[in-house]
Symmetry: C2
Subunit: 609 residues, 2 copies
């Protein structure tokens, strides 16, 4: 038995390392020190300087001119970029006038005494320079090179820091317990998007769960009181842009809490981790009902950084001659609504307006009317001549439209009109911003809660039947409890979403903690086989505390915080939109032999002749 | 848009809650305060007290005797145990003489003013009392009840705290980055124990990786410098006792580090999280070579809390008449070795000694000789009469045996003798401890490093071929590098294990960071298809820093710390040893319809007629 003597510094970024400092930390205060740096060759200059890089920054290394170091010079100058070297040398102040103010280490350079090539790089498929533009597929194939960029280093390191702050807030300040729940689980009723994992028992499969929903509720029944987990979740949605088959959520559940309690917890959480370098946010966040969000913004995740709200203009058409519009207005659930694009005439060209009409036609199968309010007060619109002046005035008054604005009108069933105008509102902003207008400030973060969602929605395929708007464990709004028996479609839920800048980044609810209510919802309303959830129903009968929780979509939230265009930019090794790992080639073919222990075989699709 | 007023306290265990305090925190300093408690009915006493429980403890609630509270009393007294209630009332000092010193809240009681039944419990399959013994299968089926026990609450909460301290140490003190790596990945060469996940593309499967090994190395190539992750790993070993199909490891990788650096990091880590309530440990940990561990303890994870070390007694037999032993000694690689059980004659009965012989026969197909050294100095042993007195003296001298001891002798090939005696050494201790002797102090934790493992081992099935002793990415010991080409079986590796009390709780190594060496190992020594790892080989050619890392088995480490007999006691929802979730019934049957999108079908085994 021997003992090892401890060595090196015992804290900081270079503890326990063969380097003494990182490439980003040397300053003029280090002048005279002998240091050891390890890093990548970023570039060589004048045959006498090598710029070394690591995650923390760059340091200039001076290669001495004296004869005895000729080999050192040869080694360095012939080394391909991105090779890894270790350099030992003395920190010197740069000669006057040669300081680089742009570079944090720009006051000094390291005069190399010895150097060692640790790894010689071959020619790489792209340069590791911040200005190099690369196709995303190339970035994904060589992800280990792509991650060397300062943006990706920033994204991954910020992610780590934020997750750490989330943990500190929950465990150290609020007494939460970090509990790991299984990912090899049982299929949930209706879990069509769950990945399957064959077991060694013929015909039996595990499922990779979409969230730890059942486990977090069972932990409340178990008296854990406050649970959280940075949980890996799985959802098989085939090919959907900007979705990942595995993703991460900050999963939280509390006993003895109400909606307001969960919301206050999350507001404190976001304040706690909010990066200092971003514009600050204020709490509490505004609360908007689902009904308000739908009626004003046409969507349940409104981007409230700008106006262009939906305006009901049905009354303009209720008594006039525009027949098709009057008919719509008088139909049950029918309406005419508008959004106003302020100053739209200057930026939206005919081509743009046509593209909006096209979008309405293609994606919503609806026709929209566009009114261009010219600077001289005249109207350019196909409906201009159908409307009497009084109606025009009424319309302008309701929409507060002025010369130079564009109005976009849609008519039809309320929910169709809302969805369409909600979408066109966002599309208009995109068009304006593509032309250089700044409508939404990207450094502004508008968080808000959307509450009072419907508990059930008609099924897409069989509108006579209901399905859960979110999941079957959501509790009803206490005021609407009497409706559950007879008019379940009218019941609001205790579900709430956290929305920022038009993106849903979290969803929470108070859960049903009464077994008989849960059974009623599953069997009588949703017509599900409740035996698949018998363990949960039994648990709710065994002393279940009232409880609720929330899940934050970590990938999405981070991508918004760092201003990334895709969640792939905040994930170390993401899959392509087809679910492929372009670096390793997963998913891959498996031989029949390797499938045998799992008692499955591939059912090859029949080739169409 | 509305705003919610923040409510409740904003830190501590009851922040954002409908309770004001937990059931474990009230003391005499709270007397006079009106409090709201929520908890489970632990028991009722004398029709006037209800004892409420939550994770933090118990509080006695007094039901007032006055007429106006008759309903309150009725509610409480008829309530089944484990029902959940909310009680509001004033904290009172208990009458003199009625304090309960055993109970942290024993100085006070809460005089109920109002109460609300939040959930009425049905009759449960077992009582939530610490002394209730339950079959493990029942505990697993009703895990949400089992977790209410104070031991399981302690285990899960300690786990959460330790994991948090690990994170703090790595990120806040040593600059590590927490990076999540994918669990839907590609099969690795030889990955026979990997679960498969069918994708929606016919014939293509993801794999659930056994560890993030490739990703952590790629992150070093990516310049992440210091990575860690509390990583979920998957290993399909069929039915093995005390293994879990999914388990958790603290996964660590560093660039520019050597073995000593990683070991020092881990020693600091364990010191940092070591629970105050346990006997302290000292660092640095002792280091033992693999060869030393095998020769002295017969195993590569020695329990050094006790002696009974292996002693080579071959020389006693090299020149004497015991023919079969002499032959063995003279065979290449043959030897005779012994372990001494001090005072063994008093505790080990004939039955016990027979059981040791039986174990040797059944599991190792070997015969052992037992020498009972009676108190009067005479020998009871089948070999006693075969040995001349001088040989007996020699044997006693080598083993330091005294009257009252038992010697266990084994002979054969060195490696077989070591394995057998290593096993019998542990078995002897178990027998002694079953009889009440304390040989190993359970409150003592002996950490040690085992180093200099062989890099390759002969394959079990084809001993002429070599396989990696750990994994193919392990670097060779620098001194043995010249042997790699011609005598790879003699090469020691830079792998090292962390062992505590006879259990391996971590394994680390310095990795190969040179593509040509990695390719040579994969193709020439291991005869693997290196194209499956082409992405890693390419990465090593792209500026790969020297790097190394370690993985700690979190479940195992925690089970040792809390003194649990199984890792299932430190996992919230473990699987049975057959890999079943006894609560939900996973894995479960999946219909053909549900399998269709994945292009697989079940291959039912043919029934034997």
């Amino acid at each position: 038995v021997q003992f090892r003597s401890t060595h090196g510094t015992n804290s900081g970024s270079s503890s326990f390392s063969i380097r003494s400092h990182t490439c980003g930390e040397l300053r003029s205060t280090h002048v005279g020190e002998v240091v050891t740096l390890c890093g990548w060759v970023q570039y060589q200059r004048h045959g006498m300087f090598v710029i070394l890089r690591d995650y923390s920054g760059l340091t200039q290394v001076l290669i001495p001119e004296d004869e005895s170091r000729i080999k050192l010079k040869k080694t360095f100058c012939e080394l391909p970029l991105e090779s890894v070297v270790k350099v030992k040398g003395k920190v010197k102040r740069r000669p006057a006038g040669q300081e680089n103010k742009e570079m944090p280490t720009g006051e000094i350079e390291v005069c190399a005494e010895t150097a060692e090539v640790l790894n010689k790089s071959k020619k790489l498929p792209f340069e590791i320079k911040d200005f190099t533009k690369k196709a995303e597929s190339l970035r994904m194939q060589y992800r280990y090179l792509d991650l060397r960029s300062s943006q990706m280093q920033y994204n991954l390191r910020l992610r780590s820091q934020i997750v750490m702050k989330i943990r500190e807030y929950l465990t150290n300040i609020h007494g939460f317990v970090d509990v790991e729940t299984p990912t090899l689980f049982k299929r949930t009723p209706g879990g069509a998007k769950e990945f399957l994992v064959p077991s060694r028992e013929p015909g039996r499969f595990y499922c990779l769960p979409q969230s730890p929903q059942q486990f977090k509720q069972l932990l409340m029944v178990a008296g854990i009181d406050r649970y959280f987990q940075v949980a890996r979740c799985y959802r098989d949605e085939g090919s959907k842009p900007d979705r990942q088959p595995e993703f991460t959520q900050v999963d939280i559940e509390m006993s003895f809490v109400n909606q307001a309690g969960i919301q206050a917890l999350i507001e404190g959480l976001i304040q706690h981790f909010w990066p200092n370098e971003l514009r600050s946010i204020s709490t509490p966040f505004p609360i908007m009902t689902y009904e308000e969000a739908m009626s004003v913004f046409g969507v349940d995740k409104p981007d409230v950084r700008f106006g262009m709200q939906l305006v009901n203009i049905s009354e303009v058409f209720s008594s006039i001659e525009v027949e098709f519009l009057r008919d719509i207005v008088h139909r049950p659930g029918g309406c005419v609504q508008a959004i106003r694009v302020p100053g739209g005439t200057r930026h939206l060209k005919n081509k743009d307006l046509e593209s909006l009409k096209h979008l309405a036609k293609i994606h919503f199968n609806q026709t929209v009317n566009v009114v261009v309010l010219k600077d001289d007060g005249t109207w350019r619109s196909s409906i201009a001549k159908l409307l009497p002046d009084s109606a025009k005035q009424h319309l302008l008054q309701l929409t507060a439209a002025k010369p130079g604005d564009v109005l976009i009108l849609a008519s039809g069933l309320l929910q169709d009109v809302r969805s369409l105008l909600g979408k066109l509102r966002l599309q208009c902003v995109q068009l304006l911003e593509d032309k250089g207008m700044i409508v939404r400030d990207p450094s502004d973060f508008h968080f808000l809660w959307v509450v009072d969602f419907p508990l059930f929605l008609p099924k897409k395929e069989y509108p006579a039947e209901l399905e859960s708007a979110h999941h079957p464990f959501t509790a009803a709004h206490p005021e609407d409890l009497p409706l559950l028996l007879k008019e379940p479609h009218k019941v609001r839920s205790q579900h709430f979403d956290l929305v920022v800048n038009g993106c849903e980044v979290g969803g929470g609810s108070i859960r049903i903690h009464d077994a008989s209510v849960q059974k009623f919802v599953l069997e009588k309303i949703l017509k599900e086989d409740s035996s698949l959830l018998s363990h949960l129903l039994e648990a709710l009968d065994s002393g279940a505390p009232p409880h609720g929780g929330i899940a934050l979509g970590l990938d999405r939230l981070l991508s918004i915080i760092v201003g990334a265009s895709s969640i792939r930019d905040v994930i170390a090794f993401p899959k392509s939109f087809r679910g492929h790992d372009l670096m390793s080639g997963a998913p891959d073919f498996i031989s029949e032999d390797e499938l045998r222990p799992y008692h499955v075989c591939v059912k090859w699709p029949v080739q169409e002749g």
